[in-house]
């Protein structure tokens, strides 16, 4: 795959690993948070931790939309599905995301709920056209990367006068979440030590551009390197962060210049701003209620808003108290610190949503990280 395979070269990776090893100050620790699940996945999938020096610690941030979705939103979706007229369209990752009391959309589907996995918002349009007697609701979720696809869907639905398509909106904003992390010392400073820098999102940034991070770098004095999701991209970004730290700089740098500009995708941003507006606050698992961090449909598009249309209200449900997701999403704990990890909580029966998406910290550790847990032993 062009523009992918080249950035997975083992030999170059080993060279960069050595370069990082040479440049790090062995007297200190470097704590970098990769905000995005995409980076978490790349780090785990390619085993980058095996290549990095021991004093670089990667902290997995809250950048997986499924992971940060609170159980209450799943419960609300299940309420929607309980209505016999509703067909709910979801991206596949959502099926196993836990609601309260062991509920999930997978279970709701097994119980007869009409839930369809779609690949694209265009599928939801097709479904709504094919089944005019059904109420098709699209479970919209995702960061700035995914929001434009929802916006385009609504624009098309409006143009086609589709009366039976609406959106259950859970879109959230990356910079707000990063701001919330940096602003709150309890979250920012893990074990009393603060994060030294961020790897900034890859695909989110294709839309919002690197300029979105400039106020953050400035205000909090933290370096941010926007990086691609290929393993060499991540390696290079780490090297760039090490250099900024070593040089006491805190700039926004763009490793992913082949796809990201300072401005971002103007047309996509326009599509989004025409249809969505900021919610006063939105609940993030791990971060709590974050001001100005979520989107909802503008009043002019209220007929496409499933929350209005079906009068479903925000439910407050408690997450499982033993689940350490919140601390893990803030980088304060590691998956193995959770008592439920791998016993009660597994990918098949996730307790927290970090165990659901392959970008979630617990799931990534499950799949890729456990290999480092224990030395090999001879079978008895």
């Amino acid at each position: 795959m062009k523009y992918a395979d080249e950035f997975r070269d083992k030999a170059i990776a080993q060279g960069i690993a050595r370069a990082i090893g040479v440049e790090v100050n062995s007297q200190r620790e470097y704590r970098f948070m990769e905000f995005c699940g995409g980076h978490t996945h790349a780090i785990s999938r390619y085993g980058l931790e095996d290549l990095l020096p021991a004093n670089i610690r990667m902290i997995h941030g809250p950048g997986c939309p499924v992971c940060v979705l609170p159980a209450s939103r799943i419960d609300m979706a299940i309420r929607l599905v309980d209505r016999p007229e509703v067909t709910l369209c979801v991206y596949g990752d959502l099926l196993r995301a836990p609601g309260s009391h062991g509920q999930s959309l997978l279970r709701a589907k097994a119980l007869g709920g009409d839930i369809r996995v779609v690949y694209s918002t265009l599928d939801a349009i097709r479904l709504a056209q094919q089944a005019p007697s059904r109420e098709v609701v699209f479970f919209a979720i995702g960061f700035e990367t995914t929001t434009p696809a929802t916006a385009v869907m609504i624009r098309i639905a409006e143009k086609k006068r589709l009366k039976n398509l609406s959106v259950f909106c859970n879109h959230v904003l990356t910079p707000s979440a990063m701001h919330s992390i940096l602003e709150n010392p309890k979250i920012r400073d893990i074990g009393g030590v603060s994060i030294d820098g961020f790897i900034g999102p890859a695909h989110v940034s294709t839309i919002i551009g690197t300029q979105s991070y400039e106020p953050l770098a400035e205000q909090f004095g933290k370096p941010i390197v926007v990086a691609g999701f290929e393993p060499l991209d991540v390696m290079q970004a780490i090297l760039m962060l090490v250099r900024q730290v070593n040089e006491d700089r805190y700039e926004v740098e763009n490793q992913y210049s082949r796809a990201v500009t300072r401005e971002g995708n103007r047309r996509a941003k326009e599509e989004v701003s025409q249809i969505f507006e900021l919610r006063e606050q939105f609940e993030w698992r791990g971060l709590g209620a974050v001001p100005n961090s979520g989107l909802e449909l503008k009043r002019a598009y209220a007929q496409f808003d499933a929350e209005t249309r079906f009068a479903i209200h925000d439910l407050r449900v408690a997450d499982n108290p033993a689940c350490e997701c919140c601390a893990i999403l803030r980088g304060a704990k590691r998956p193995v610190d959770c008592k439920l990890f791998g016993t009660v909580c597994t990918p098949e029966t996730p307790i927290g949503s970090c165990m659901v998406s392959s970008e979630g910290a617990c799931a990534a550790y499950w799949t890729y990280g456990r290999v480092r847990d224990e030395p090999l032993r001879r079978p008895s």
Binding site: G15, A19, G37, Y91, F143, T145, T146, V152, R258, N265
Partner: protein
């Protein structure tokens, strides 16, 4: 969730759609989010939409830098 792969525009279709190809696979996607695409351009595809055009010159530059950093690491270690 932010999964995305690079794909080459093989054909521009009506209604802001395009046919792209990825290593022998053809896929119809929406190009409603990008202006001025033409056949041969490479784009990042995410949930059926082209998100961004890949800049070949920048890609080359990054790759060269990576190679340089890599061999620098090799030399220095």
């Amino acid at each position: 969730m932010c999964l995305s792969v690079p794909a080459k525009i093989a054909k521009i279709l009506p209604n802001d759609m395009a046919m792209v190809s990825i290593d022998g696979i053809s896929l119809e996607i929406s190009i409603a989010l990008l202006d001025g695409l033409k056949v041969g351009d490479c784009v990042l595809v995410h949930v059926g939409y082209a998100l961004a055009k890949i800049d070949p010159a920048e890609a080359k530059r990054t790759l060269e830098l990576l190679q340089e950093l890599g061999s620098a690491g090799e030399r220095r270690s």
